[in-house]
């Protein structure tokens, strides 16, 4: 996707109900609620959320902290169970599944990217990326090949044997993205992927996620940051456990353009103000 491509191909949609996917939904949540008890206080994290993620789109789930956006991601990512409601992955209802079946669905169809990277310590980048393939029962040589391929795809082909503590935050997050990709999942779920990164690494990571989406992978980003959300094609706003707004992004930010801008700024030793980047891309 090149700079200047209009992001307004999508029509603005009804706030309460997401757009019905024209082709098919990778993920869908219908009337999902989640309550849990925290320190003897009942918390209603989600109160009847409907969400559809269309195949091939890049979606942002946005909301302030405590809005329930992470809980929603955990539920659609099958890491957590809804109190009520239905979750479907690739059209398949997962409500009645055993923990081991859920593990298998996560393994094959979902890739996760977390704010805090969640790489195995004292384990090489390549071994980290191989991890899902081990549980998928892929043979050793095939694993190594695919892990190398995935790491090359995120620009870390020369860091195969580095341990997480020998990598920068941005590089660690790229290893995590490679791990999410390596099983060729239907969807990549990223929870605040830039939350622990400096702005430059954040831009790199967003650029990679956009690149993946361009290559046809469905990407969902959970964020509280409106700027990060504007990298997506569509944003679902969540507040107090409800979807309050569902909008298409106009003037989508393209991370590749920001990267190019950063390089230019570095050459002239300019200040890397977020506003100037914003203004430029928005212009």
């Amino acid at each position: 996707m090149s700079e200047g491509q209009p992001a307004s191909e999508l029509e603005p949609v009804d706030a309460a109900h997401g757009p019905a996917c024209a082709i098919d939904a990778v993920l869908s949540a219908r009337n999902v609620s989640k309550c849990y008890i925290l320190d003897e206080v009942m918390v209603n994290a989600l109160r009847g959320v409907d969400l559809e993620v269309c195949r091939g789109e890049m979606l942002a789930i946005m909301g302030p902290s405590g809005s329930g956006k992470s809980t929603l991601m955990h539920i659609v990512g099958l890491l957590d169970h809804p109190t009520s409601g239905v979750v479907e992955v690739d059209g398949e209802d997962v409500s009645g599944m055993e923990p081991n079946q859920l593990a298998s669905v996560r393994n094959k169809r979902i890739g996760f990217v977390f704010q805090s990277f969640n790489l195995l310590a004292r384990t090489t980048a390549q071994a980290n990326v191989e991890l899902p393939l081990i549980y998928a029962g892929v043979s050793g040589s095939e694993r190594a090949r695919r892990a190398k391929e995935a790491l090359e795809r995120v620009g870390l082909g020369n860091r195969l044997t580095h341990m997480p503590n020998q990598l920068s935050g941005g590089q660690q997050q790229r290893v995590a993205i490679a791990r999410a990709l390596v099983t060729e999942p239907s969807i990549v779920l990223a929870d605040e992927p830039t939350g622990n990164l400096d702005s430059r690494s954040g831009i790199e990571v967003m650029s990679i996620l956009q690149g993946l989406n361009d290559a046809g992978i469905t990407v969902v980003i959970v964020t509280h940051d409106a700027r990060v959300a504007r990298h997506a094609q569509r944003v679902v706003h969540i507040q107090d456990g409800r979807v309050v707004l569902n909008e298409c992004v106009e003037n989508r930010i393209l991370a590749s353009a920001e990267e190019a801008k950063l390089e230019r700024d570095e050459l002239t030793e300019d200040d890397l103000g977020g506003l100037s980047v914003n203004a430029r891309v928005g212009a």
Binding site: L79, P99, N100, A103, S104, F112, N118, L119, L131, Y135
Partner: protein, 400 residues
């Protein structure tokens, strides 16, 4: 995911925490080594003691004053000083010899303690005294010189034969035969010395001097003797001889004497030492158990320390079984590696102790210790592993 993969993951996890893994293994190493070492020493002592008794020949009868409760009652050969109503004397031995005739050789025996002095050196030692047939019943082998003869026994001559330890202490590197040594202040002529026999459960058998029984009576100022040892000329007659000895002594001593055959003594000692060995093994097993609990501790710590790791693994598709097998295998690898190291340490230690302590590495102890350590690993590894495998992925990921 297959078993080989689980193994690789477990090894990698253990290698990532080398110090902790080594310390955990230490408990198992000590436990297994202790079991093997103690059982080896136990069996070694047992073999040596029964061997040395068997070495006397299977045709000996031991007659002790006092009622030890027939064949069973426990208690072995006792020295003087036990509370016994009626002691034997030389006449009893003499009349037994007359009764038994040429079927048996009767040796009256005195055992006691004394001190020797040669030059400026004092040395405490035990006395074994008998008659001229003493060599038939004492297990020592003459290295040089001669045993005392009948004339010397009859006249109570001050002649003495010394054991290897006594010789080493008083006459290091010299030939003691013909030299004079002071026994309890009285001069004795050394007429021979014995070869070393090695240690035994009852102390140093080589720290003994041998003299005529009459001489010992004078020395100790008593007409009593400690016991009577009878050697059957024909080994097949031992049981019959036992009955005849009992009949002969009954009129004078009533029930206040006990006749042991060598088989009985052997059986008694064997049972005793067997029990001792089992007790040692039991004590050592406690340390193995403690080692196992150490493994459980570390695995529990490891589970909570690696809760996040478990969360990550589950998020990317690990099933309950994968997590369970990973942690169980970690525990087994720890305990089996520890077990093997323990076998090396224990068996090596037993070998190294051999010059001083009779030790015999018994294969069953090695096999038992090894399987016990593996079982410890499984047993104490399963609970933490089960806990780890049951963790909810999101709970595990949230864990700080």
């Amino acid at each position: 995911m297959n078993l080989a993969e689980s193994f690789r993951i477990a090894i990698r996890a253990l290698a990532a925490n080398k110090v902790r893994s080594a310390l955990t293994m230490l408990g198992v190493i000590i436990g297994v080594a202790a079991v093997i070492l103690l059982v080896s020493i136990g069996t070694g002592v047992q073999t040596q003691v029964t061997g040395s008794i068997e070495g006397l020949g299977s045709n000996l009868l031991f007659v002790f004053p006092g009622d030890y409760g027939g064949s069973g009652g426990g208690g072995g050969p006792g020295g003087p000083g036990m509370s016994i109503r009626k002691q034997f004397n030389l006449d009893d031995a003499q009349s037994l010899q007359v009764r038994l005739g040429t079927d048996a050789i009767v040796v009256p025996v005195i055992q006691g303690q004394t001190s020797l002095k040669h030059g400026s050196k004092d040395w405490r030692t035990s006395i074994s005294a008998g008659n001229e047939s003493g060599m038939e019943v004492f297990s020592a082998t003459l290295a040089k010189g001669r045993f005392y003869n009948r004339a010397e026994v009859v006249s109570g001559r001050r002649v003495i034969l010394i054991g290897a330890t006594v010789r080493d202490q008083l006459f290091p590197g010299q030939d003691p035969v013909g030299r004079v040594v002071a026994v309890d202040g009285q001069p004795f002529t050394i007429i021979g010395y014995f070869e070393a026999m090695g240690g035994s459960f009852s102390g140093d058998q080589d720290n003994t001097v041998y003299m005529p029984v009459t001489t010992a009576q004078q020395l100790l100022g008593s007409k009593d003797i400690s016991s009577i040892i009878i050697k059957a000329v024909n080994a097949d007659n031992v049981e019959l001889l036992k009955v005849r000895v009992q009949q002969a002594l009954k009129p004078k001593f009533k029930d206040q004497f006990t006749v042991f055959t060598q088989q009985q003594t052997l059986g008694l000692l064997s049972t005793l030492l067997g029990t001792l060995t089992a007790m040692l093994a039991g004590l050592a097993s406690i340390s193995l158990l403690v080692g196992g609990i150490g493994i459980m501790n570390i695995m529990l710590v490891s589970v909570s320390e690696r809760t996040r790791e478990i969360g990550i693994r589950k998020a990317v598709g690990a099933r309950t079984y994968d997590i369970l097998s990973q942690f169980v295998i970690e525990a087994i690898v720890l305990s089996v590696l520890g077990g093997m190291a323990g076998i090396i340490v224990g068996a090596g230690g037993a070998m190294a102790l051999k010059p001083w302590v009779p030790a015999e590495v018994s294969p069953w102890a090695v096999v038992l210790a090894f399987f016990f350590s593996a079982a410890v690993g499984v047993f104490f590894g399963v609970y933490p592993a089960y806990r780890a495998s049951r963790l909810d992925p999101i709970e595990a990921l949230r864990y700080e």
